[in-house]
């Protein structure tokens, strides 16, 4: 496959079983209505609702049984 082509580079990526990756600078409102500014080039937003650092992912989704992980 030639590399002289364009590549997909989405702003939002839903990771199977894990967080939502968000590229760039964003304001994220959590479930309590509190706004958080992203702080890094790519941020991971928790989708499993179990993170202790919400709204950010902290890897806790990996402890959940497969069926309870986000699709």
């Amino acid at each position: 496959m030639s590399e002289a082509r364009s590549f997909d580079h989405p702003d939002v990526v839903l990771c199977p079983g894990g967080p939502m990756l968000l590229r760039g600078d964003h304001l994220v409102e959590d479930a309590d209505g509190v706004t958080h500014r992203t702080e890094r080039p790519v941020s991971a937003i928790c989708r499993c609702h179990k993170s202790a650092s919400k709204p950010w992912c902290d890897g806790t989704h990996k402890l959940l049984p497969h069926k309870q992980r986000p699709i």
């Binding site: 590399e3 590549f7 990526v13 890094r40 790519v42 991971a44 992912c57 902290d58 890897g59 990996k62």
Partner: protein
Amino acid sequence: MLTPKPRGSLSEAVFAALRAGLDTDHGPVWPTADADEDAAVSLWVLYELHYRGLDDVGDELEWHPALLALRHQLEGDLEARLRARFPGRRSEGDFGEEFFGFVANHDGPSLAAHVQRDADRDQVLELLRVRSIYHLKEADPTAWVVPRLPVATKAALMELLYDEYGVGDPNRLHAHLWALGMEACGLESDYGAYIDEVPTEILEQNNAMSLFGLHRRLRGAALGHLAAFEATSSMPSRRMAQGLERLDLPRAIVDYYTEHIEADAVHEQLAVRTVCGSLVAQEPGLTDDVYFGAFTCLDLENRVAVRMLSRWGVLEGDEGAAA
């Protein structure tokens, strides 16, 4: 950093030659290493010539053929030993899922769990000292790999490394956060300051990263190692942060670990899916090496954990010896 304390005949001869300088292209006939730690500390110092160098060794020795020949021989032994430990892996389809599964199934004792609940202050400070050998050059071994990658993988790795290196802000550079944490604990933050007290397992862990990073041939292993490292960092970092808080250690070192809870929750997704994922899509022949690197990362960390926990009497001798 000065040349460390020799740990046997080989390191003694090598460090003496480094300090004295080698004037011809032909090196001395080196003695054989007395033991693993003798070989490991020799290789570690040879690698340091490619990082920040040593204050008592001439910079021109970095590419001296006699030293490269010795490095080649020591690297051959190390790689053979690491490959012999790798049991291979079973392919189960989607790379990302399979890789995360591979990491999750690798079991071993956890230093972070001990720090979280039971470790005393002296043990934690010792752990910080031996970990400093890596954290003061955090991400550097992987940065060697950048020019050797296809387009998508190169961009993906830089997206991750940019965050490791502080997004352009020196105050956020991870190795620097670590150095601030060390200083706040009253420890020395100079590169290699505690090299004389690190066990063989730490030297080997460090050498494996340099080995993978410095050889284009091993780029798959380097990135697999990175992905496994990132994928086993977020939750242990929380445990570390909690343990350090329990022991009332300074904010700066707690902050280092707190930063890694969120950073590595991102990095693990990037390292597995975009970095390694794009590499194996472009160069499928490297897939086994990606797993070899990942296994090596997990296995060497287990060995470090067993060594430290046995030393502290947390693991019984037998358990310690078996792994």
